[in-house]
Amino acid sequence: MVTYIIRRLIWAVVMLSIVSIITFAIFFLVPRLAGATSESLAARYVGRTASAEQVKVAAEKLGFNDPLIVQYGRFAKGIVAGADYDYGPGVEHCPAPCFGYSFLTRLPVWPDLLDRLPVTMSLAFGAAVIWMIAGVATGVLSALRRGSLFDRAAMGVALAGVSLPIFFTGIVSLVVFSYGHPFRITAPGGSFTPIEENPAMWAYNLILPWITLAFLYAAGYARLTRAGMLETMNEDYIRTARAKGLNERVVVVKHGLRGALTPILTIFGLDLGLLLGGAVLTESTYSLPGMGKYAIDAITNQDLPKVMGVTLVAAFFVVFANLIVDLLYAVVDPRVRLG
Amino acid sequence: MAQRDQAEPGGFVNEEPLLSVQGLEKHFPVTKGLLQRQVGAVRAVDGISFDVRKGETLGLVGESGCGKTTTGRLITRLIEPSAGKIVYAGQDITHMSQGRLRPLRRDVQMIFQDPYSSLNPRHTVGAIVGAPFRIQGIKTGQGTKKAVQEILELVGLNPEHYNRYPHEFSGGQRQRIGIARTLALKPKLIIADEPVSALDVSIQAQVVNLLEDLQGELDLTYVVIAHDLSVVRHISDRVAVMYLGKIVEIADRKGLYESPMHPYTNALLSAVPIPDPKRRKERERIRLQGDVPSPLNPPPACRFHTRCWKAQEICTQVEPPLETLAPGHQVACHFPENAPGLAGGLAGGVSGGAASTGAVPAGTDPA
């Protein structure tokens, strides 16, 4: 078990390194293929008003003329060991993990990311709670009443749910429930109140994004749960449970759902991991200052250090979620042996 | 049938065996991680030797997981042996390349256990039975279709079903299709891996009969793998009993069933339920305890010692070699029963064994 975790951790690190190399290569190579030179990249650092000579000096200083591998090495070293940064009056140490400094704001990326994290986390976890409850409950009921009116209605809604683009539902929800309404359900975007500051405001600001996001996922999970339940309810062990004389509720919940929940948990973990890296569309629709919005803004401004940082953090969450899911799997399903 | 008589003790002395297996081993590595590091091995087949003579049927029995299928797959070179030697018709095919093996594959064919998974559900019967021609690049006189239909008829199927899909056939019919496929290339040796165990009793008999008929007609040599001792007894001339990757006893049919020497064979035989209510009270039973140990960690020396009621110190330390104790009868046991000189039939052997060793009485059930 311990060796398994260690091995998985090593693999996670390897995977993140690969992701970072690819990301780095793409973001530092493709612009060059597109015609950017180290000068034009540096120009982004020193602004439009700088003289050509200043640009040259900056390019040299930022190491844009070094081979890619050297640049990557520097970047990686920054993450592991931190980096030194000349902020003008002096040199400052940017402690590990140092994801470099934004082209635009000149501020280290890492604290920025830490700053955005609570927003995305609030969004993701809040929505997750809603969708798990709503999705799984609907799925179970649908499966038990297979073919009933409820089942068909629920599955119809669920199918519609997974077919609606979230940026569409998002805007519509904003128009209907928020923009210029006397009784707006939520402050549409831009506003995030940390939960420790004011839980009521926190929820108020997030309720609409939660519901929109949760609707999409709940729809998917309802379908998943239903399929899973239909399958487990056909398992032999359900027949055994009934043969023991258990009542139907226990059979469904303790035996059926327990069996169906494992794959759902897996997917849940991965979905959550993916979301924690930034709910790009939701956040940009609702202007929530989370990781996803950060990513979009960074991309819009071609702020490469930010893009790198946010990509890596997002990848980290996916990898981490994978790891947790695998470990959890062993807890949930005793048949899984880790070793 | 003619050949069967020859297989009785005393027959065949000089003829070279069609297939000879010597010290064959297959250890499946248990690997881990990206680099496929080996952390252990399943010793599925662990040094077995036997010969198969032309025209005879060799039965291979044993409990689940003892390596029967692996043996069959080794002989047909579907998997690569870890050690040992396979000689077919005088040719060493142990490590022969797949390319050089191709022509030989016409001679050695395999019948599979599961009539549902052994036929590709996306191919028609014609395509399935015709596949050997296509794969081996054989042109037949009147075209493949004709040839296939002839074979279908041979195994008792309607040739008009050429264009049907496997799912339209019953289990027994599917098994016939599988047999038809193996016959397409006019093989000499057929390895049948549990050819009937997935079938209902009534169908089982049809297939058994078919196999026997074909053997007579086409001059085939069989290695029949099965766990059902009755079926094996019915079709085999000689029988090998396997336990955890080893052959513990090999003898002609009569010798094995009437005077088994290995305790395991004895136990197996006595465990078979007899469809005769009167006999159930008369029989002496040997009840083995527990299950077969894992081939990942087989017990040392004699692999059977953990379940054997006759086991003694030596059994845990020295591996008994497979020795010929009677003509055509080889056993790997330190304390064989029914060996020449030791009197008594099956029942006597058992009680005698228990009494004489006095070991592990838990292993027997006097009831």
Binding site: D236, Y237, R239, T240, A241, R242, A243, K244, G245, L246, N247, H255, G259, T262, D333, P334, R335 | E63, S64, S170, G171, Q173, D200, V201, S202, I203, Q204, A205, Q206, V208, N209, E212, H227, L229, S230, R233, H234, R253, Y257, A267, L268, A271, V272, P273, I274, P275, D276, P277, K278, R279, R280, R285, R287, L288, Q289, G290, D291, V292, D365, A367
Partner: protein, 341 residues
């Protein structure tokens, strides 16, 4: 009245392809302490019957008619809730594949405890003790330790033992074992058969053993019921069935089996064809397309469904051939072949 009595039980499933008549007019009786063996080919309706007795088809698509009397109570018409309270306590079942029949996520102990506590108002601790006892009784070594194992940590034989322990935990009066040993190796099968025999003696339950292996029924049963195409074709004591079988299908079964206790015959005597579809059951006697003696009924077999008739002393046979002819055929044509050489 008998302890268990089935009267004209029919269990049909409407499906896309048509109505599946899995059980079609099955009647038999069984007394406490007795063992009934049900044999038949795959798909003959054995499992459907057993599940039907436990009321496990209810709430599904099955159409059930007829009567099932258990200890004076009628079950087909009884409420689902009532039947549920009987399950486990009054009647219990052992399934064929113990690995899939046990929940993979709960320990063996938990599953036995659960079964015990539904019907007995006891604390978890007491139930656990009981579970350990039961595991010990079915011959699991170190039951106090193994009670916390998961099913997958057991070997096949142990699993089946645990399954039996679970079924017996509430001391049921009727125990149905559906192919209890089919998934097991011979040596383990022998252990389980012994165990079941011992347990039945101790518990004095009525036992129904379902199998397609004639050897197994011969080992266990007092009476044997041969099923074909959802119907009983022959019923009698073990002796009747093995010594004086009267139905051609039973003969076929006997003739198909290679047997260790007899000399190996040259050829087996299989039944031709394959089992009938339960949607389009052959007209008349369902067995007639496969029956070697069909011509001897003068077309009757094709036209009419034969009645299940008593020949002598509780021996029932469903065949158009007159009893005398059947006995003659057995004596002269079948039996000698079986014992040939």
């Amino acid at each position: 009245m008998s302890f268990l009595e089935l009267k004209d039980l029919r269990i049909h499933f409407p499906t896309d392809d048509g109505l599946v008549k899995s059980v079609d007019g099955l009647s038999f009786t069984l007394e406490r302490g007795k063992t009934l063996g049900i044999v038949g080919e795959s798909g003959s309706g054995k499992s459907v019957t057993s599940l039907g007795i436990l009321g496990l088809h209810k709430g599904g698509r099955a159409r059930i008619s007829g009567e099932i009397w258990l200890d004076g109570e009628e079950l087909v018409g009884a409420s689902q809730e009532h039947v549920r309270t009987l399950r486990g306590k009054k009647m219990a079942m052992i399934f064929q594949d113990p690995l899939s029949a046990m929940h993979p996520f709960y320990t063996v102990g938990d599953q036995i405890i659960e079964a015990y506590r539904i019907h007995n108002d006891v604390s978890k601790k007491v139930a656990r003790k009981h579970a350990i006892d039961m595991l010990g009784r079915v011959g699991i070594p170190q039951p106090a330790r193994r009670v916390d194992s998961y099913p997958h940590e057991f070997s096949g034989g142990m699993r089946q033992r645990a399954m039996i322990a679970m079924a017996l935990s509430c001391d049921p009066e009727l125990l149905i074992a559906d192919e209890p040993t089919t998934a097991l190796d011979v040596t383990v099968q022998a252990q389980i058969l012994d165990l079941m025999r011992d347990l039945q003696r101790d518990f004095d339950a009525a036992l129904i053993v379902i199998t397609h292996d004639l050897g197994v029924v011969a080992e266990l049963s007092d009476d044997i019921l041969v099923m074909y195409g959802g119907k009983c074709v022959e019923y009698g004591t073990s002796d009747d069935i093995f010594e004086r079988p009267e139905h051609p299908y039973t003969w076929g079964l006997l003739g198909s089996m290679p047997r260790l206790d007899r000399e190996p015959t040259e050829r087996l005597m299989p039944i031709k064809g394959s089992p009938p579809s339960l949607i389009n059951v052959p007209s008349g006697c369902a067995f007639h397309p496969r029956c070697a003696f069909e011509e001897r009924t003068a077309g009757l077999a094709k036209a009419e469904v034969p009645e299940l008739r008593e020949t002598e002393g509780g021996h029932l046979v469903r065949c158009h051939l007159p009893a005398e002819r059947r006995r003659a055929i057995w004596r002269n044509e079948i039996k000698p072949n079986l014992e040939a050489s």
